[in-house]
Amino acid sequence: MREIGLEQLLALSTGATLLGTGGGGDPYVGRLMAEAAIRRLGPIRLIDVTELPQTGLVIPAAMMGAPTVMVEKIPNGSEVRKAVEQLERVLGQKAIAIMTIEAGGINSMIPLAVEAELDLPILDADSMGRAFPELQMTSFHVHGISSTPMVVVDEKGNSLLLNTIDNKWTEKLSRTATVVMGGASIIALYPMTTDQARRASIPGTMSQALELGALLRDHALPTAEKLSRLLEKVRGHVIFHGKVVDVVRRSTDAFVRGTATFAGMADDEGRTLRLEFQNENLVAMINGEPVVTVPDLICVLDQETLIPITTETLTYGQRAVAVTLPCADVWRTPKGVETVGPRYFGYDFDPRSLTPEARS
């Protein structure tokens, strides 16, 4: 077990932004909520998957909808507790731990922002190992776990219990409800046994976010050293060194899609990186050829500070280094690729990766 105190929150949010691969929502509001919770209740306990008892109920929680709404209509603070408690009531069982479904972006913070009483540890794991836009894009789904019964709550006290025939229906129905609730909601879903949690979650992702964030925020380290340590830690690779020369965004339905073009610098002089994103970075193409795609993580870092640059803040002139971190193994399975591979996002090719084991 380890503890997350006030001092760790900034590192965690930086690491979560990295794992957000350009999207996932700014953790800023979530961090302030977690800060308020820690000030009131003390440090948060983060337990390892191996520390889970033999039996018991684990409940994942998250925010759903537009992070843009949450920066304006900040939550009440009691939503996570209410959602978890209602799911406990439905199941007739108390949870022994809660967890996030998404370690990338604002959802890394949501289970931490419990305002009181819910004296539960946070499981050091998630179900994406990064950020993804839809509810069925989880390792739980790949492992055949149902996302329902699921509870959706808003800040007013409304709540909704869903029972669906499959996880895509859950995504559709709960998103519609979220819009009616004002564009953002808090959800508790994929209730599971400790056994399922051990088998189907991606372990260690919260502490990974913490450690990576702490590394990126380490002002004492020279940039080159920081970058090589980062890549070593995650077995990652540099995709490209370059300068942003063009950013095009278009708003489609509920997502911002777009393309950023980088002109190569240093070793990449003369080459062009084209980065396609839909909230998160999806595909990195060098000179027209896709080299890294979802489900691997594609992260753009400021060249000097190595602080992650989100797709919302990409602008002309930024000097950046694009890196890739290998995705969790679950995403390399056939069902994993079907759920979050490039074809699901409308591309006509299979996943590309710079990670050796992915290409075997």
Partner: protein
């Protein structure tokens, strides 16, 4: 007899300039800022008036740009004790107001706060009805211990009804209590807008004092002109309007320089570089106005989201220290500042500054003595300074195309003729008084920056509604209703939000109405 006086009170100098009806510079003067500020304004105004040989009555308009509001926040001095009403319960309770503020600033500003029922959804529906009784109770309880009130409602940029009700109630029942409504200052992002509103309320008194000192300096010189304050988008506010939104004067200095640069060079679209003694500001003018920053901007350590010019500030100026260590040559970020006239080699001192290396390699002619810095070191230092400048220009540009660069400020004489990414370096006459000239030539603006729910509405009708609101704002600020021009229309569909909500921003500018400010 229709002359304009422009005054820019900066960190180091108070610059004054008088323009004639055609906008030509008649006289300019520079005075070091005094600790009481007003003395330097009085001196500067007397100097410039004397040089112009005009009678005081010839001055019909006086425009002031000042850092006093900024400094009050940074120094945590002379700030109001603020009461805050947030309209949003049961939402927003998770993060209390003023979270993340520096402790010393919060201790000075924060007096009383309450979160009551009210506020709206992104599409304009009410989150909950406005809890009028709770508002009334709060005011009755705290009227005695607060000297300004800030009001922020959830999604007030979409619907300001609840904020406006509070203002009307206060006007009727506590007419002496100044009120800041958040929707008039910031856009989406509750905490940042709330911070901006609280800061605005906190500088109520200091802005009144600044306005009073301007009036006093003018009357001491026998000038009876209409007075205006410049705001950070490069336009003017009547004194009355400025007293309602004093926070908008923050960062008006760099803006005035950029506007002055645009005016003096007659260019509308360009990069502007303002090189001073200590630092350099690089910004972009688009249609003659500074481009605004899209990022959250910190003021005095507080995260806000109100409009600010997009600027890159470099620790590079005429007085920047030049050093060589471990084979590396650095210029700045620290500077001898105003002591340059004693310490730089070209003035007989012993410190190597940016000015000395520029003179040594023949890029500039300044001072009374030849600098003794070795030529090789000078060349490398000058290259390093140029690299900093080129890097900054490249970062602020929005495209790879070369653009014209307007160089202003006393230190801009050090810059070379050829700079990477720049099509030409334009050095206008009176470049050293660009800030005061920018203040003197400013027009009046009005704006709207709100979220409009577009569903079921004609897009043209929505844009028209926004334009009319922006024009009304300009007229309130002192513009001539018969001389208004729309300079910016921006429509951004909000991501992740179904139902077609758009953020619409319209900016109009206009000539000063004669007899506008009383």
């Amino acid at each position: 007899m229709n002359y304009r006086l422009g005054v820019d009170v900066g960190g180091t100098n108070t610059d004054c300039v008088i323009l004639d009806q055609q906008g030509h510079v008649v006289a300019k003067a520079k005075r070091p800022v005094t600790s009481d500020i007003i003395t330097s304004i009085r001196q500067g105004v007397a100097d410039v008036l004397g040089m112009s040989r005009l009678p005081p009555t010839a001055i019909s308009h006086a425009m002031f740009g000042t850092t006093q509001v900024t400094n009050a926040i940074i120094e945590r001095k002379s700030l109001n004790r603020v009461g805050l009403i947030r309209l949003g319960a049961p939402a927003t309770l998770a993060i209390p107001p003023l979270t993340g503020w520096p402790e010393d600033l919060r201790a000075v500003v924060q007096q009383a706060q309450v979160i009551v029922g009210g506020g709206h959804e992104f599409d304009g529906r009410e989150i909950s009805p406005l809890d009028r009784e709770a508002v009334k109770r709060f005011l009755a309880e705290h009227r005695g211990d607060i000297s300004a009130l800030a009001v922020v409602g959830v999604f007030s940029p979409v619907s300001s009804d609840h904020e406006v009700w509070v203002r009307d109630y206060v006007a009727e029942n506590y007419p002496d209590l100044p009120v800041t409504l958040s929707y008039e200052i910031g856009s989406v992002g509750l905490l940042e807008r709330e911070n901006a509103a609280v800061l605005n309320a906190a500088v109520t008194d200091i802005s009144r004092r600044a306005a009073a000192s301007f009036a006093e300096a003018l009357s001491a010189a026998g000038i009876h002109a209409e007075t205006y304050l410049t705001q950070n988008d490069g336009t003017l506010m009547s004194t009355e309007y400025a007293l309602r939104y004093p926070i908008l004067t923050v960062a008006c200095g760099p803006t005035n320089s950029m506007r002055g640069a645009a005016y003096l060079s007659a260019l509308k679209d360009a990069v502007v570089i303002d090189v001073g003694g200590t630092s350099t500001d690089i910004g972009v003018i688009r249609s003659g106005f500074p481009r605004e920053s899209a990022m959250a901007v910190e003021v005095g350590g507080v995260r806000t989201n109100f409009r600010m010019p997009d600027l890159i500030s470099l620790g590079l100026g005429g007085g920047s220290y030049v050093r060589e260590r471990d084979g590396r040559v650095t210029v700045g970020p620290d500077s001898v500042g105003y002591r340059i006239v004693e310490e730089a080699q070209v003035f007989g001192g012993s410190t190597v500054t940016y000015t000395d290396v520029a003179v040594r390699i023949g890029a500039a002619r300044i001072g009374t003595r030849a600098p003794s810095v070795p030529e090789e070191l000078a060349r490398r230092a000058y290259q390093e300074a140029l690299r900093l400048v080129e890097d900054g220009i490249d970062r602020i540009k929005t495209s790879a195309e070369p653009v014209p660069l307007i160089a202003v400020g006393g230190g801009s004489a050090l810059l070379p003729e050829r700079i990477a990414g720049v099509s030409e370096v334009v050095r206008p006459e009176n470049y050293d008084a660009a800030n005061a000239i920018g203040a003197a030539i400013a027009q009046v603006s009005g704006r709207v920056d709100r979220i409009y729910a577009m569903a079921g509405r004609n897009r043209e009708a929505v844009l028209e509604e926004a334009r009319v609101a922006a024009e009304a704002d300009a007229v309130r600020a002192g513009a001539d209703p018969d001389d208004l021009e729309v300079v910016e229309v921006e429509e951004v569909p909000l991501a992740y939000l179904p139902g077609n909500a758009s953020r619409i921003r319209v900016v109009v500018v206009g000539r000063l109405r004669v007899g506008a400010a009383q």
